[in-house]
Symmetry: C2
Subunit: 214 residues, 2 copies
């Protein structure tokens, strides 16, 4: 009945579990980035032998899938809101907030094909109101996928962007002006910087105007 079995370390606080492993993995990604993740380093942080991880996780890839699901689970459920547009907007903002909360781990969600039930919860949250509003299922799925594609694309740019230093963008501005491409040079001041928040709202509004007017 209880999951407590096998050989515990001398300290009961040091017992391993899938949850503890995933939590520590997420911290590791947050602190050192995705490339720095290795089974050995993760085990070191947990004060444990590397091979012990394999009792709780199927391998490195499955570990990263697990971390992605932890991130996905952080999306708040939308209030049962009568307004379709408000619901979709809230979910989009929730998704974005969850990713921006762990920018270095976000690519795990944005680039992996997740087949778990956790990944379906937000889908249900969008699809439900769309169907309730009378959308034919086919069109609802189309709309969901269009918004999701935009979210993924925007967030990918957002989380992979180098943090903007005040003088960092100046070097970039000069590069753009010196590119020899007339339109790029003309729009250089706007290309050199990126207000992610504004870009997000701009694109989301266009899509929601088309999909959930009102």
């Amino acid at each position: 009945m209880t999951t407590r079995r096998g050989r515990p370390p001398k300290d009961s606080d040091g017992t391993l579990s899938r949850e503890r492993i995933l939590r520590e993995a997420l911290s590791l990604v947050d602190e050192e980035g995705l490339d720095a993740v290795s089974m050995r380093k993760l085990a070191r942080r947990l004060g444990v032998d590397p091979m012990s991880l394999y009792n709780h996780v199927d391998g490195k890839d499955a570990l990263l899938d697990g971390v992605a699901e932890v991130l996905l689970a952080a999306i708040p459920a939308a209030d049962p809101e009568p307004d379709l547009r408000t619901t979709m907007s809230a979910l989009a903002h929730g998704f974005r907030a969850a990713m921006l909360g762990h920018p270095r781990a976000a690519p795990l969600v944005l680039t992996r094909r997740l087949a778990s039930l956790t990944a379906l919860a937000p889908v249900e949250a969008v699809l439900g109101p769309l169907l309730a509003a009378g959308y034919p299922p086919e069109r609802a799925v189309h709309g969901l996928r269009a918004v999701l594609a935009f979210l993924i694309g925007t967030l990918m740019r957002e989380v992979s962007a180098a943090p903007t230093f005040s003088n960092g963008s100046r070097g970039r501005l000069e590069d753009l002006e010196a590119s020899g491409l007339p339109a790029v040079a003309a729009a250089a001041p706007y290309l050199a910087v990126c207000d992610h928040e504004a870009e997000f709202e701009f694109g989301l509004r266009i899509l929601l105007d088309a999909l959930a007017p009102g």
Copy 2:
């Protein structure tokens, strides 16, 4: 002294060059996938010592950046077309075609921050017509970024999707229907399959309707 060492004959067929390395790297990605790329394996395919690659490429990461640029360079330049919408649509389709031509390598373009001049050519090709059509630069950049985000998101799904087997989608369909989520179950037949072409056109039309009507 039978082993060949030092600088090779000038114009032999076995001479290394950045272009030859990048071309072989792209082939390797196409055939075995991104994870299978290693400096050592690439060198083996080129019949060369692994360390020789470092005379032409700054390291593995720079190598992959180079491959990404090769992909980007494959986007055909748009005809000087008077119609703004046609131009943008052509570039979007060109981008998609270039990525679908090398689906396993596409993530290199879609997930990396590319700062090269090669990456700016398509930007110029979109920005030029937008500015010529009288769009203020700020709005032109906004529009460009919105479309690009959608393109990246859609293509990411498209290239990471497992090839659809006739019975593969059937297993997926059953999973969705058994998920216990009512809206997901109701729309399951449409969630189980994905006509990427149609999704692409659907989302692109929405964005172009908003940005380049006509």
